[in-house]
Amino acid sequence: MPGNDSDNILHLDAIDIRLQETPLVAIDTRIEPGEILTVMGPSGVGKSTLLAFIAGFLDPAFSARGNVWLQGRELTRLPAEQRRLGLLFQDPLLFPHLSVGGNLAFGLRDGNSRRERHAQIDRALADIGLPGYADRDPATLSGGQRSRVALMRVLLSRPHAMLLDEPFSKLDMTLREEMRSLVFSRIHQENLPTLMVTHDEADAEAAGGRVFRLLPPT
């Protein structure tokens, strides 16, 4: 059953992903607005495959059944760019050919005047504690700063739901705490249904939501 149109629910409807008929991942659940569902499991168990399927990058070697619903739209038939999913990768992946502000502008939807876009970017930078960083080269930022810019870039593209792909695994311990609380608080603030894939128990604890455990194939 698809969710009601007005509800911002990420509905994973009877999803079953197989590799040459070997079942890999099966999940059937609804993620409420602002809820963070954690998918856990050891590496090689198909966590990333699930994420790739939802995002629209599933390798043709896999076969998948089931539907993904978001705001009453069925996503699996749409190309990745039309799904309105915000994906936070393991690496910040800031574009090296653009400034920090340029990276944010890349995420920002078009439509406003150039001046308004600049103002939006300045506000966004202030929001993540990096005021005045617009013209900086992303290569000069620290790891934590890059992660914050990457988060803001995703949020500026106004996604309807979030996917987190081990987003804190490459940060060191102290930064990890900080990034977690920033990401989770933004997700709650924007009321986004979120699916997080991780192998770190601490991530699941901090998210505080349901945990879905994938078992190694037997």
Binding site: A55, G56, F57, P60, P79, A80, E81, Q82, R84, L85, G86, L87, F89, D91, L93, F95, P96, H97, L98, G101, G102, A105, F106, G107, L108, R109, D110, G111, R117, R153, V154, S157
Partner: protein
Amino acid sequence: MGHFRRSRLFLMAVRFAPWLAMALLIVPVAGGLAGVIGPAFGWLPALDGHTVSLTPWQALWRQPGLVDMISLSLVTALASTLGALILVILLLGALLETRAFRAIQRLLSPLLAVPHAAAAIGIGFLLTPSGLANRAMSPWLTGWSYPPDYLFPGDPWGASLILGLVAKEMPFLLLMSLAALPQCQAQSHHRLARMLGYAPLTAFLKGVLPNLYPLIRLPIYAVIAFASATVDVAMILGPSNPPTLAVSVIRWLNDPDLDRRFMASAAALTQLGVTVLALLFWWLGERLVVKLMSQTLTSGRRNHGDRLIGGLATGLTWFILGLLGMSLLGLMLWTLAGYWPFPEAWPWPLTIGNWMEAADTAWHSVIQTAVIGLASTAIAMTLAIGSLESEIQYHRRMRRRTQLILYLPLLVPPVAFLFGLVQLQAQLHIAPGWFAVILGHTLFVLPYVFLSLSESYRRLDSRWAQVAATLQASPGEVFRRIRLPLLTLPLLTAAAVGFAVSVGQYLPTLLLGAGRITTLTTEAVSLAGGGDRRLTAVYALLQLTLPAIGFSLAIGLPKLLLRNRRGLQPA
């Protein structure tokens, strides 16, 4: 003790290899350019030129159509490079990570091995008024029972030349781009941009291309330099009156009037200037595009006519592929054709008479081509492997400047420095012949062999060598018993690439062999100027077959020899 000495000998040889390679690349180019400067200013003792003057330049300026020649060279070079690059960019952008892309990739790679002259001859035959393209559409569609009257190839605007160059350069640029994609995190950036809502082509143009372009800049410059100075392709497809500047240089050089050599030298230097000018125009164009596009990059627009442009690119790529495929078919038919009147699309009856007739002389050319190809490939492979091994033994990665030296023979127009080499050759009383021709070929084979091999050589897991070293293997043994066997596949591929490059060479054979050495390429090009399509087609097809055999061996041998070593098999 002998073990120890051998090992030192190996390390010494490896130490010298890069210097030898660099010398081989720099000395002939620099020497050749120097050798052309003297005669350009009237100084060539062998021909009684003892005074320095501007007479050759005055003679050159007086040549009718000089400006047309120069502008033809410039326009065809820039237009063909731009066309090939745009096709490659759009194709990558529209099809990256799709299944159709893999198919096109598989089809394009063997095209790289097709010699320029063979491709040009094939395209010329296909599109000429009485060519296969018109035959296939006549008379049922066009109503023609006689070939229509238009000039192609050889149209005065150089359109056929541009088309031929695009078809031949596109696979090269695509392959260089594919090799560079992982280096600029193309896949991650592309996915990221798409997740942010960008349509595939726009995501590529805004998120990937700005980081990819710097990595393929040198190959692009090499393409411009080649296109601005090509002789064989321009002779086959280009206009003849006036031709491009490079073709004129060769004509003047071959003029029975030896005094023309002074003017030809001045023209060869002018050709260098034309190539530099073409590169300069391109460089200015780069600046302009960067300036114009910087706002668009971050405008937030997610779709710039993606579907339309992507569809167009795909269509054009299939058109180019079809063009080359049809050209090949046309060549085959011509070699088997007896009487083949115009609107007939299929020659009937088929005959092997053309092959029998060509067999005697063609056989001779096949042998010469193969000998030169094998010898130059062997030298180039030795130097390339030695240089790469020295990087490992002495922990010195090639710097950007050294990379530029590698591209030297591809950036300096061969017509300029080879001609100078010929002058030097005469000056130093070195008889033209095998030695000079093989070295001349090596000059062009080495860069391609090196580029083809370097990625795999540098990426080979260094732990293999460490394991072997802890088992008491000397550096020489590690090289011979570990590195070389593990690299069987890339080594064979590099050798096949090198052989193909040698087979395709026209100018080095023509100039350094002083007409005494003929290869399939020199024969095919000179036949293409005549009227005998059947014989020309035989030579073009043979010219195409030799590299194809090379690549088949490179793929087939490991499958056979290493059938019990699955880890070393081609994927």
